[in-house]
């Protein structure tokens, strides 16, 4: 709390919050304005799980957000409002950790928060921020529940479960049809928190409609450090397709254990696979990553800005993972809204975000339009690990390779 320039005791502050909350309800006064009045720059909460089980993804997310902030500040900041001052927070890979950081950021007087990463963290943090009418831009968190609770402060620039799973299933059916329908049976391996379980439920409901038979759905906790039993089950049932839905560490371990146990289905197709579209995975374990397909967040490979950003990130010896460009884009979305609101006032910023038509970003999205906090223009793409690189295989408008399916023996 050393960066908090306002000296109020905790008790006085809490009393103030209570009073102001009442004042907000009657529309007379807003406490964020009071708190921010003394700060010259615009404070932006940058919240990620940078320690704990999700630390890699969290650190990548923080990298993306801070890169965008540095760029914006180097270009002179937000016109009339000054530079963006990041207030970094660590959710420690738990919803509780995230909520504690929201409280800290709120008392530090941030205008907005970006981040959260995991669905369960985002659900908790957006709700905590909503109590202070603090605008919150979710960077990744795909659970549909995040934007369907009627929280006016919550915005998600990227696509949610519903859209992603629908696209993933349509594309999977298309890839399978094109190859002469070699895949009929499926096994799903998912992590057992909100993200994995939600996805598994959706897949269980929708895959049969596309002509696939689900042999088994296997849940596992995060972290899991031994996938031998899971892989043995896969080996015994011998499905045509394996669909993993888990975070980075577990995804890598599962893929490596499958390689170790010589389990080669016709395809590994993931929906939001934690590592499937990760350059880190492809570089470190090229054999395990080969031919894995994924439907995930991805940058626009035809966009010069995106390619320049990729170069920049790689020059820092970091991998250009989706966390980086998702957060990068979200910060620019906020900067755009701040500019239009011409104020760091939370209510004005919320309104500006809700009306956003943000364009010129690095993502392969349609026109930005927020409906109940969800960007309707957001869409995932399909990728595949080919030639030690990640190529876009669908939609054809963005594709730079053709799908290789079934996997060559």
């Amino acid at each position: 709390m050393s960066n908090n320039t306002i000296s109020v005791s905790r008790r006085r502050f809490l009393a103030g919050t209570g009073l102001s909350a009442a004042a907000v309800a009657t529309g007379t006064l807003s406490i964020p304005g009071v708190l921010r009045a003394q700060a010259s720059d615009v404070k932006l909460g940058v919240l990620h799980p940078v320690t704990g089980a999700l630390s890699y993804s969290g650190q990548q997310g923080r990298l993306g957000a801070t890169l965008a902030i540095e760029e914006i500040n180097a270009a002179g900041g937000i016109k009339g409002l000054g530079k963006i001052e990041p207030v970094l927070g660590d959710a420690q890979s738990t919803p509780d950790g995230g909520v504690a950081e929201v409280e800290k950021m709120n008392s530090a007087g941030v205008a907005c928060i970006v981040g959260g990463y995991a669905s369960n963290i985002c659900l908790a943090t957006t709700q905590a921020a909503a109590r202070y009418e603090l605008p919150y831009v979710v960077d990744v968190g795909v659970a549909d529940g995040i934007v369907t609770r009627g929280l006016k402060n919550t915005f998600r620039f990227g696509p949610g479960f519903g859209v992603i799973s629908k696209t993933a299933l349509t594309n999977l059916a298309a890839i399978n049809d094109q190859a002469g329908k070699p895949a009929k049976t499926v096994m799903i391996v998912h992590e057992d928190s909100l993200f994995g379980s939600g996805l598994a439920k959706l897949l269980n409901a929708q895959l049969p409609q596309h002509g696939f038979q689900i042999l088994e759905t296997i849940p596992h906790p995060t972290p899991t450090r031994d996938f031998n039993n899971v892989v043995l089950k896969i080996k015994a049932q011998n499905p045509d397709l394996v669909i993993p839905a888990n975070y980075y560490n577990e995804y890598v371990l599962l893929a490596r254990t499958m390689q170790q146990q010589h389990v080669r289905p016709k395809g590994i197709y993931s929906v939001l696979g934690g590592a499937a579209s990760s350059f880190k995975f492809v570089k470190e374990f090229p054999e395990a990553a080969k031919y894995i397909m994924d439907c995930n967040h991805w940058f626009d490979p035809r966009n010069d800005k995106a390619l320049a950003l990729k170069k920049k990130v790689e020059s820092k010896n970091q991998f250009f993972t989706y966390e980086v460009y998702m957060n990068y884009s979200c910060v620019y979305l906020i900067a755009d809204a701040l500019q239009r609101a011409a104020s760091a006032d939370r209510a004005k910023l919320t309104a500006a975000l809700a009306n956003s038509t943000f364009s010129g970003h690095v993502m392969p999205y349609g026109p930005t339009k927020f409906v109940n906090g969800q960007n309707e223009g957001a869409a995932p793409v399909n990728t595949q690990v080919l030639d030690n690189d990640i190529k876009v295989i669908l939609p054809t408008t963005f594709a730079n390779a053709k799908p290789v399916f079934p996997m060559p023996a």
């Binding site: 320690t51 704990g52 089980a53 630390s55 420690q92 057992d192 296997i218 849940p219 596992h220 906790p221 972290p223 899991t224 450090r225 031994d226 031998n228 039993n229 899971v230 043995l232 089950k233 080996k235 015994a236 560490n249 490596r256 254990t257 390689q259 170790q260 146990q261 010589h262 470190e284």
Partner: protein
């Protein structure tokens, strides 16, 4: 589900996991057998040993299987010093105090690790981590097979020390009859510390065998120690063969319950055994007294 294609590899994997459990349990049961205390600091010491193995690889570039020859003596010295200069003097001869002191040490070590290295989960990436040996019915991971062999080497070395050295005889004498040993001129405080040192060295060996395929964070040891307590109870408190056989049994039970009940419920089987043993045979498989 009951096809041998799954069952045999699952049982073999359980046996290999059991080997690592055996090493952790060996230290625990040895300390109990001689000092008659349950060492609550065992888990924290395992976390510390995993960090030692991690940094030996990252900083010194030592392969974990080489680092074991550095870390085991280091942790022997650490264990010796802990018992000789902290646990022994602080307990003032009362076993119950010793128990509390080890609990205190656990809290201190864990929080020191947390302060120094944060809650991050770290792993190392050695080339052989995912190599396998084809046994026809199953592909077994090389590091696990190494661990399996190592546990027998360690158990054999312990047996040699206990049987053929004066220190070993003194340890056995103190375990059996503390007052008599003291009267015969054995320095009990020294023997206590030696035993604690050996127990801690076992943990260091386990850490070096674990790190190629496992991860480290300040709380990681706890998961193993809960299992090790169960093993010690199953095998009989203070029994070395009991710890080894108990560990293999628990490894298999864990693997099979993971297979049948799902990964999220995998450890239920272990704790069911814990309760059943306490109810039916509190002295354990090889225990002498209840």
């Amino acid at each position: 589900m009951l096809s041998p294609v799954i069952l045999v590899p699952a049982i073999l994997n359980g046996l290999l996991t059991g080997a690592i459990y055996a090493l952790v349990a060996l230290g625990l049961t040895l300390i109990y057998g001689v000092l008659h205390i349950i060492n609550f600091a065992h888990g924290a010491l395992l976390s510390a040993a995993l960090f030692a193995a991690f940094f030996a690889y990252r900083v010194l570039g030592l392969d974990p299987y080489v680092a074991v020859f550095l870390n085991a003596p280091l942790f022997f010295a650490l264990g010796y010093a802990l018992q000789r200069f902290i646990i022994g003097p602080a307990s003032r001869g009362d076993d119950r105090n010793m128990l509390l002191v080890t609990l205190g040490i656990a809290v201190v070590i864990e929080n020191a690790l947390l302060y120094a290295f944060h809650a991050d989960t770290r792993t190392i990436n050695v080339g052989y981590a995912f190599e396998t040996i084809n046994f026809g019915i199953a592909f077994l991971a090389v590091p696990r097979v190494v661990g399996f062999i190592a546990v027998f080497l360690v158990a054999f070395a312990l047996w040699l020390i206990m049987t053929f050295t004066d220190t070993g005889r003194a340890i056995r004498a103190v375990a059996r009859e503390k007052l008599g040993a003291q009267l015969a001129g054995i320095d009990v405080a020294h023997i206590y510390a030696i035993t604690f040192g050996i127990g801690t060295a076992c943990v260091a060996v386990a850490a070096c065998l674990l790190i190629p395929t496992y991860y480290v964070n300040p709380h990681v040891g706890n998961a193993f120690v809960l299992v090790a307590f169960t093993i010690v109870v199953l095998g009989g408190m203070g029994s070395v063969p009991g710890a080894v056989i108990g560990a293999f049994l628990i490894g298999i039970v864990e693997s099979l319950s993971g297979l049948f009940l799902g990964e999220s419920l995998g450890q239920i089987g272990i704790f069911v055994i814990f309760i059943v043993v306490l109810l039916v045979r509190p002295s354990g498989l090889f225990g002498e007294r209840a």
